[in-house]
């Protein structure tokens, strides 16, 4: 373990460190933003699917659907 730690390069946070950190943070942020956008889209799909299912259930049981459910685009 000591030998391994001896091999590790120091992480200098002076001149070069900020550029390296910025580059990796940019890539991480881009991926994070993309995944977040896709997650929002997926949650919309999930919500619409839930509304559709509840409308189908109410139609099958002969009950009128609630006003909120009839506002589907």
């Amino acid at each position: 373990m000591t030998a391994l730690l001896g091999e590790l390069p120091a992480l200098p946070l002076h001149e070069a460190g900020k550029y390296v950190a910025a580059a990796y943070v940019v890539v991480f942020a881009l991926v994070l933003i993309y995944v977040a956008i896709m997650a929002v889209r997926l949650s919309h799909i999930q919500r619409e699917l839930g509304e559709l299912l509840s409308r189908e259930r109410s139609a099958a049981s002969g009950e009128p659907s609630s006003p909120g459910e009839s506002q589907l685009p």
Partner: protein
């Protein structure tokens, strides 16, 4: 990705010339390679679309180009950061590698506006495929042209001029594998979201038709204008899902 990051910071040796700044190489170069390969792959998918007329190939090409554009943005930003640290300026207009990548990126940036400009889904898919094939042919030509250029300061990574030490080369290959897997995973994620949306749309239309919300003899509802491809077989997929319970 975690393994490659660990290797970048704890396994790969420091570069004798650039020192710690060279660590950007392990994310910048794989991003550029994967983005360019994604553009070429999209061209091959577009060929498959034109051959088979299967809308799923158009969807795959669209997602591949979309993802390559995102990776292209990351390449340009990380490259600019590296240039600032290494050369003292954010951009070098006299550097063929940088300018050629920018040209390819801007070329593909017109893909979505082109799609959006065409309303008919069938024509949109066809024209987009032709564009993707033409642009994909441009990518290797551009690569070769840059290789033939003599005056450059941008280092070469692939080819006979590369002189990476074994530990650096191994770390680079692991990083390339990690970025490739990230690209494929995000493509699969986006495709899954688009398929789910298409199936939901088909189910909603069927439910509305059953509920009598649309007149049977009236005009069919128009598709909202979009740059994204439409899955014409979504109804079939939804029907299959309904029958099979899958």
């Amino acid at each position: 990705m975690a393994v490659s990051l660990a290797m970048v910071f704890f396994y790969a040796p420091l570069d004798a010339d650039q020192g710690f700044l060279q660590k950007i190489f392990y994310v910048h170069v794989p991003l550029a390679i994967v983005a360019l390969c994604g553009f070429v792959a999209a061209g091959l998918m577009a060929i498959a679309h034109l051959r088979t007329r299967d809308a799923r190939w158009d969807m795959r090409a669209y997602v591949a180009i979309h993802m390559s554009l995102i990776f292209g943005v990351a390449t340009l930003i990380t490259g600019s950061i590296w240039a600032k640290g290494s050369w003292g300026r954010w951009w070098a207009w006299d550097e063929p590698t940088l300018v050629s990548f920018l040209i390819v990126f801007l070329l593909y940036a017109t893909y979505q506006p082109l799609r959006f400009a065409i309303e008919d889904p069938e024509r949109q898919a066809r024209y987009a495929s032709v564009f993707a094939i033409t642009a994909a042919a441009f990518v290797p030509m551009n690569f070769i042209a840059v290789r033939l250029a003599t005056a450059y300061v941008h280092p070469r990574v692939l080819g006979s001029t590369s002189n990476l030490p074994p530990r650096m080369a191994f770390t680079f290959l692991v990083s390339l594998l990690g970025i490739t897997l990230l690209y494929l995973t995000l493509c699969a994620y986006e495709l899954a979201v688009k398929r789910a949306r298409a199936r939901l749309g088909a189910l909603r239309r069927r439910a509305e038709q059953r509920a009598g919300m649309h007149d049977a003899v009236g005009p069919a509802p128009r598709r909202a204008r979009s740059a994204a491809p439409s899955l014409a077989g979504a109804e079939t997929l939804a029907a299959e899902a309904g029958r099979g319970g899958a």
